[in-house]
């Protein structure tokens, strides 16, 4: 370890430096030494040349401690790949590809070689020159509009290259990267079983490299690059394997450029990442909304792998027509029901495996339209479990019918009947003269209020709403239509109104194992103000939404919405103060969708298992998940 860390100097207030990094203080613009990838293994052997760390990639603020070998060994590898990565994402950006078939063939061939090597995260980085995914969607990706993909790649390269250019000379960088690539190619060569691989690897590497418009590398360095990559892989493979066995697959972190690129290559829908993003939330995906919609619409007839019902649901998610975790879950399951109905097993494949793969591909499509909610994740686990448990003796028709009835039963028992039980429990907590507060538009709470009104209880409701979605207005409309006395306010008046409230009813997108309630943004505010006023907070949540995950804050896992809706108000076109400044460097707009409420602020959680304190959620998850969820 270094005896003394270099003093921290702030170069760019936007970039928050968290963690350890060893920057020599004599650099003109000390930036983060390397591009950290969260599971970066120990450093490779010394064939990679030493070079001082460059600050070319100050994209990710969160650093990991550099390994015991000096960081300088890491840096060239870490630094260069990001510039390198944009290429595989848009192989068609290169003009040297004669036709798409050739590229996909090369992609597939290399993929075969790459798949023969044990999968490791570092391998992805090392073999970034070769498209690692041999999925059929690669051809789809290649069919995409070339300009857009190329544009993105070029722009990103421009960002990085401009930054790196300002810090280092071009030639040394090019040389180093060329050496790297050569080493990688040599590694791939040495490792591959068949002779086709080196040709493919070097061919792909060469073609990819030649596609780079900014820095064309010499092709004679292929071997050394491959060799370096190979050695690095060998050193890293054992820890990777062990780690992969123990640790569950981490969620996709979007500040990890390599994985982002890999995911992009596999993407069915081509999306452009939003450019002006808040540093703290770099690990979450954010795309330009306009391009998403046009992309999807233009590709309607090309998306063979996606069933039309699933496509329709995906579009509904994208446009925000379906909101709320129950509605989304039900829509998705019903779409899958349709898809299963129309499904037919291809010859020589088992239904279970092929259907699971198909569901997986539908899921990736849906994720690209909008990231999955936790309830949807649980429903998918249930479905996959049911598919896996199908007895092999069933015929295809019977299997499909079984699955469809399973989905029906899940929706019925876990959502519809569960809601009825929740309503039955919750109305016992409403007495005459109560003033009930609710936030947003939770479906379960709405049912509770309507049922309590039907039972003749005298109470009034305060509906708290917030921009940009203004979901509370829908709830208000429905409640007033039934004749309930309502008050409507926004969340900034919550402390003003809380003194007259007797109970707070909230909905949840999920409840985590430490009792934290994960719900729409603003819920935590309401719960905390209620707690300060000693008003009991009741959360209504079906048990299928419980998850064994633990989350301590709202940052590590969240969803980013469209930032433009913050700056614009629907119907008030005169409020346009932020027009034109959305792309400025000093302003980033942040539209978070979810937040996490700690369990201390929750008095009771009402589920279909009864009324439980927040500390009992892990008991339910542990004991009853197995029995009841996956019957």
């Amino acid at each position: 370890m270094d005896p003394r860390r270099a003093p921290r100097t702030v170069s760019d207030p936007k970039v928050r430096k968290v963690g350890f990094f060893t920057d020599p203080p004599d650099r003109s613009l000390p930036g983060p030494p390397n591009h950290p990838i969260s599971s970066f293994p120990t450093s490779p052997p010394s064939t990679v040349d030493n070079s001082p760390p460059s600050a070319g990639n100050s994209l990710s603020p969160v650093m990991i401690p550099p390994p015991r070998h000096s960081s300088s060994i890491l840096s060239p590898l870490r630094r260069d790949p990001p510039e390198f990565f944009p290429l595989p994402a848009s192989p068609t950006a290169s003009t040297t590809f004669s036709d798409d078939v050739a590229s996909t063939m090369k992609g597939r061939g290399v993929a075969a070689a790459s798949s023969s090597l044990p999968g490791g995260l570092l391998f992805d980085i090392a073999a970034s020159s070769v498209p690692a995914s041999g999925l059929t969607t690669v051809s789809v990706v290649n069919n995409l509009p070339i300009e857009k993909g190329g544009g993105v790649a070029v722009e990103m390269q421009d960002d990085q290259s401009s930054r790196s250019k300002s810090l280092k000379e071009k030639t040394t960088k090019a040389e180093r990267r060329a050496l790297q690539e050569a080493q990688r190619a040599a590694k791939a060569t040495a490792k591959a079983e068949d002779g086709k691989t080196p040709a493919a690897a070097s061919g792909a590497a060469a073609s990819v490299k030649s596609g780079k418009s900014v820095k064309p590398p010499p092709s004679q360095k292929n071997d050394s690059a491959a060799l370096a990559a190979l050695e690095k892989k060998a050193g890293d493979r054992p820890p990777e394997k062990d780690r992969k066995k123990e640790v569950p697959q981490p969620r996709m972190q979007f500040d990890d450029k390599s994985r982002v690129e890999k995911a992009k290559r596999r993407a069915v829908v081509k999306q452009t990442e939003a450019r002006n993003r808040v540093e703290l939330f770099r690990h979450l995906p954010q795309y330009e909304r306009g391009t998403q919609r046009t992309e999807l619409q233009s590709k309607f007839f090309e998306l063979d792998p996606v069933h039309p019902a699933v496509y329709k649901v995906g579009l509904q998610y994208l446009y925000g027509d379906i909101c709320g975790s129950n509605a989304r879950c039900i829509a998705m399951l019903q779409a899958f029901q349709e898809a299963i109905k129309d499904y037919s097993t291809p010859s020589e494949k088992t239904l279970a495996r092929d259907l699971t793969a198909k569901i997986g591909s539908y899921l990736s499509f849906l994720i690209e339209c909008r990231p999955l909610s936790i309830s949807m994740g649980n429903a998918i686990r249930f479905l996959k479990n049911r598919i896996a448990k199908l007895p092999l003796t069933l015929s295809e028709l019977e299997a499909k019918a079984t699955l469809r009835s399973d989905i029906d039963r899940f929706i019925n028992e876990k959502i519809i009947l569960a809601d009825k039980v929740i309503v039955k429990h919750a109305v016992t907590k409403i007495s005459d003269g109560d003033v009930l507060l609710t936030y947003g538009s939770p479906s379960a709470v709405e049912m509770v209020l309507l049922h309590a009104h039907e039972l003749g209880k005298q109470f009034r409701v305060v509906v708290v709403d917030s921009r940009p979605k203004l979901e509370g207005q829908l709830l208000l409309h429905r409640l007033v239509g039934k004749g309930i006395n309502c008050t409507y306010t926004h969340v900034n008046a919550i402390s003003y109104i809380m003194h007259e409230v007797t109970r707070v009813f909230l909905g949840a997108s999920s409840v985590l194992s430490n009792g934290t309630v994960y719900s729409k943004v603003g819920t935590a505010c309401v719960a905390m103000v209620a707690h300060a006023f000693r008003v009991p907070v009741l959360v209504c949540c079906e048990a299928y939404k419980f998850h064994e995950r633990v989350q301590l804050d709202s940052l590590c896992s969240n969803e980013l919405g469209d930032p433009d809706v913050i700056s614009k108000i629907h119907g008030r076109e005169d409020i346009n103060f932020l027009d034109g400044s959305t792309n400025s460097e000093n302003l980033q707009l942040l539209n978070l969708i979810y937040d996490a409420t700690p369990s201390d602020y929750i008095s009771m959680i009402i589920t279909d298992y009864g009324m439980v304190p927040p500390t009992s959620v892990p008991v339910i998850v542990r004991d009853y998940r197995r029995e009841h969820l996956w019957i």
């Binding site: 907590k429 009991p536 009864g610 304190p613 009992s616 008991v619 004991d623």
Partner: protein
């Protein structure tokens, strides 16, 4: 009043109904004629209320335990031939017991827990009704045993927490807490007890009498003097009428006050409660419970315009309680819900 032979915990019972019938019939006639409190269960010679009353005659027996014993007797004397019928009978008996005293939480909780404990067994899947019934009786007896012995178990568990020279504050007359203190005194521990008066039913005075008989140094306080003396106190011991799902307790009026004072002065509050008192209630505040009223005698006439708060119980939220001593062990308040979930679901 005929006292059934069931006064002992276990009676020799043979599956053959022939040997049972004569005993019932001999007991039926005098009972029906002399007893005015005929069972609400129409047409049944066996009255669960009578059974309950007979059990209650023992002064040391808690109400809920008497109810549990009575329900166990119901199973034994039941003439049903199918499991469904047996359960229905049991439910009717349980409801009639509960309706006798609607404000008693421990009675309700005890009956409900008994029902769940007894019927929640895979023995119900047996085809042979008689063997299933015997299994039910076995479980019922076991539950009755556990409930009877609960106090002794709790007393043993809490001995580690009473050290020589400590000062204990108690509130109200809880037989469990008395058992704890008695056991400590008998094992020659040196400690002293502060007893609150416990208005309006003056239960504190009765407890101080009992403790004085055991040669335990007792100091009597009025209820308002709790904060004044809290500095000298090492721990607070209370019983419970019921333990609710959040981990809080419902107990005699004044418990919440004492717990608040103790919590603000960092003194531990220990609750001694048997496990059959775990109820499926979840009060959100003081008014969220079934009201239990107790008339207060002020000694002077009160003008009719003046309202009097006559509630006899209050709810202490779990954050003010340190530990619960139960026959299931020494638990933290959050474990109550886990236990209830495992039992009820």
């Amino acid at each position: 009043m005929v006292v059934y032979g069931h006064a002992q915990p276990t009676t020799p019972w043979s599956p053959a109904t022939g040997s049972l019938r004569p005993r019932l019939q001999s007991a039926v006639i005098p009972d029906d004629s002399t007893d005015t409190t005929v069972a609400t269960v129409v047409g049944k010679p066996f009255s669960v209320i009578d059974e309950f009353n007979s059990w209650r005659k023992q002064p040391e027996l808690a109400e809920a335990v008497a109810a549990i014993r009575a329900l166990a007797a119901v199973i034994r004397n039941c003439e049903a031939t199918t499991m469904m019928e047996l359960e229905i009978e049991l439910k009717k008996a349980s409801d009639s017991l509960k309706s006798g005293d609607t404000t008693s939480i421990s009675l309700t909780a005890g009956c409900d827990l008994f029902m769940r404990y007894v019927t929640r067994t895979s023995a119900l899947e047996y085809e042979d009704f008689d063997s299933a019934k015997s299994r039910l009786i076995e479980r019922a007896e076991k539950f009755g045993e556990i409930s009877c012995k609960a106090r002794r178990i709790i007393a043993m568990l809490s001995q580690d927490f009473i050290f020589d020279g400590c000062t204990i504050l108690v509130h109200g007359f809880s037989r469990v807490v008395f058992e704890v203190l008695k056991t400590a005194a008998q094992s020659k521990k040196l400690f002293r007890v502060f007893c609150t008066e416990g208005r309006p039913d003056r239960s504190g005075l009765r407890l101080s009498n009992e403790l004085a008989k055991l040669d335990v140094p007792v100091k009597l306080l009025i209820d308002s003097a709790v904060a004044y003396t809290m500095d000298e106190v090492d721990m607070v011991f209370v019983g419970a009428d019921g333990v609710v799902e959040s981990g809080g307790i419902i107990n005699m009026m004044g418990t919440f006050q004492i717990a608040l004072v103790a919590h603000s002065m960092n003194k531990p509050v220990y609750v001694a409660a048997e496990s059959y008192k775990f109820a499926r209630l979840y009060p959100l505040d003081q008014k969220d419970m079934v009201p239990a009223l107790c008339p207060i005698d002020f000694g002077v006439p009160i003008p009719s315009k003046v309202e009097v708060e006559t509630s006899a119980r209050d709810y202490t939220p779990p954050q003010y309680l340190t530990l619960l001593f139960t026959d299931l062990g020494v638990l933290t308040p959050s474990v109550v819900s886990d236990e209830l979930i495992q039992l009820y679901l």
